[in-house]
Amino acid sequence: MSRLRMPLTAAALTALALPAAADTPDTIRVGITTFLSGPASVFGVPGRQAAEMLAEQINDRGGLQGVPVELFFVDEGTGMETLLSEYRRLVDTVDVDVMFSGISSGTCNNIAPLAEDLEILNFMWDCGTQRIFEEGDYQWVFRTQAHAAPEVLSTFLYLMDHAPDFETIAVVNQDYAWGRDSWAIFQAALETLRPDVEVVAELFPAFGAADFSTEISRLQVLRPDVVLSTSWGGDLDTFVRQANQRGLFNNSLFVLPLAESSLERLGFDLPEGVIVGARGDHYFLHPEFRDDDDFTGFMDAFKERTGDWPIYPVFHMAQAFAALEAAYDAAAEATGGFPDRVAVRDAMEGISFSGLGREVTIRDDNQGLEDQLLGVTRRADGFDFNIMDDMIIYPAADITTPVGQETLSWIRALDESFLEISGDRFSHED
């Protein structure tokens, strides 16, 4: 690999000055890491299905700059060891043009520096950790969606809007980076903007825990006004079912920022009146697009093909493909021919693109700005599960950590004016 890369690096250095055109290849190879096994496959499998549909659509349109895309999947669920060697195999042997990686924050933490070393364009297409661009400077790594800060802060804003008078809160998060980090952000916002609120319990059951009985007993004793959980997948489903069975929803207002991905699976086990988020403006009944034929066409086709309505990873995947398409178009325009990899990378700076939602813009630090949608569960005709109502879409620019700042210290410096961010309001019946 070392000998292969050397001339390429030299080429890259000259190319920095002048984006260059390249010979047109047979295909544009896209490597995608996604969970095909393990608990996170609830996101990974829909992500893969979406990727396949999107690639078909692109190829039906004639590909990117006339070149069809070809997909190579790697399972993130087989562990970091296999993942890292498979990633390198795709880059070194298959010679992919771009990698979409990945879902878990752990993956992104390890892949980002690797991609930088290997000089391969890498889109972090789904992972949430805000640390990567705050701790390092990257040339080849971009995030085509939001990170944890806007996702959690929009939840905080929605809660303040929906039930401003709550006095006590308990958190039940999965015990791993996302569960801990998302609570750290929420807690920082609480301490800064609502210091009077009492945190009565911080529960971190093991990731993949199958039983929350004891946690639920404890929440029944404590009766907090609000129960926050950023859990997802099987863990969230189990927690919600066990909590619902034992009447916990009657005592407390539940705030579940990732529950959009569990709505259909949980059915009416997830009661009405729960605050639900979607890690972005991702919703198969998106209030601004639900009359758009392209949008509904894709939603229906996905439901037709997989049996389920799209959930947020589908939208994130669409954004990654939209970014790729936009970058190839822009790079082709800049170079006047089929762009080489450096040209494509350069085109990513400051680019805007739209997947299956509002437009996303890449900032100077390679971070995407993505608006955030939340709502409250309601029954609605025609669905055998509760859907979202009283939706608010928050503008990304106001709730995302500014470039060059560290999220927690930025939040700790916020003032009351932050609570005035109101967003755009929609209801299901509109």
Binding site: M1, S2, R3, R5, L36, S37, D75, T78, G79, M80, E81, T82, L84, S85, E86, R88, D92, T93, S104, S105, G106, N109, N110, P113, L114, D117, L118, D175, Y176, A177, R180, F204, A206, F207
Partner: protein
């Protein structure tokens, strides 16, 4: 003859980065695991298996992570010394307890210890990074720092030298009175006691060595992967080491090498080609080895010849009957 073959193998592997650069990463993984398997192999001489050596493997990787982060990329040799000290000391502490037990209890108590370590690594998020683990910064070697491509070669030779030294050390150790006493533990603890030697102590010494080997393996693994995760000490990982040792065969250090190469290759190929069936395949292979070739891969040639003879004999007899 045999010695020549081993020397030839060592020479070929020493030249691997030149001969076949694409396999360097794979080979490094093999070496890292092989070090841990050597530790298991040592205990197997006394008839004991540990389902918990993942904890020393993890200790190696986490040491690299902590020291690397504290010192902004430590030196490999310094890390090596630290890992030897830490895994040796923890091996001694745990060993003092587990060396009083045999067979299933020995295996499962090791498992319990490693699972306790696993639970702690997952739970103490602010210290250990929880499930996501800790990044291992790229270390220097004698003050020299490297690009990733160069470092691949450095870590290759580091693990390779460790494997060669480890194998040589084990070979010598097993010929020595202490190593022979280890084999004697398996056969007759009563007699050992009545020639004045404590079986527990004999096992303890081997246990500390095996912990150090697993620790160095974990160090190599963590450096190569750039990552230390709790999964390194999950019991199925430790089971993997035992599996490889039995796969290769208890008789011979070369078997450990053969076992690790075959295991990693099967796992790699099955994961790439067969959409999630590698556990199934490996499980069947393991049962086959135990039932058909109890001596492991190293006994495979002899076993095949034996089977061949039996078949030929049967054919011969059948032929005679037809006449």
């Amino acid at each position: 003859m045999k010695r020549l073959l081993v020397i030839a193998l060592v020479v070929v592997l020493a030249l691997l980065p030149v001969l076949s650069a694409g396999n360097v990463t794979f080979a490094t993984t093999v070496y890292a695991k092989m070090l841990a398997v050597l530790g298991i192999f040592l205990l197997l001489q006394a008839g004991q298996v540990s389902f918990g050596h993942g904890m020393y493997f993890a200790a190696g990787a986490y040491t690299a992570a902590y020291m690397g982060q504290a010192m902004g990329g430590a030196d490999i040799l310094l890390l090596l010394l630290a890992v030897i000290a830490i895994s040796g000391l923890s091996g001694l502490i745990v060993g003092l307890f587990v060396s009083r037990y045999r067979y299933i209890f020995f295996a499962m108590l090791n498992l319990a210890f490693s699972m306790a370590v696993f639970a702690l690594l997952e739970k103490l998020f602010h210290l250990t990074g929880g499930t996501d683990g800790l990044r291992v910064p790229r270390p220097t070697l004698l003050g020299e720092s490297f690009s990733r491509a160069q470092f691949d070669i450095v870590i290759y030779y580091f693990s390779f030298i460790m494997v060669v030294l480890g194998s040589l050390g084990i070979w010598l150790y097993l010929r020595s009175p202490l190593g022979q006493a280890l084999k004697a533990v398996k056969v007759n603890e009563t007699r050992l006691e009545y020639i004045g030697l404590s079986a527990n102590r004999t096992i303890l010494i081997a246990y500390v060595f095996s912990a150090v080997l697993a620790g160095i393996g974990g160090l190599a693994f963590g450096l190569q992967q750039g990552l230390a995760v709790p999964e390194l000490t999950f019991w199925t990982r430790s089971g993997e080491f035992v599996f490889i040792a039995v796969l290769g065969g208890v008789g011979n250090v070369i078997g450990v090498f053969a076992g690790t190469v075959v295991f990693q290759a099967v796992r790699f190929v099955a994961a790439a080609l067969l959409d999630d069936a590698w556990q199934l395949i490996l499980g069947i292979v393991l049962i086959g080895i135990i039932l058909v070739v109890p001596a492991g891969l190293i006994g495979l040639p002899a076993r095949l010849m034996e089977l061949g003879r039996a078949i030929r004999k049967r054919r011969f007899l059948a032929g005679r009957e037809q006449e």
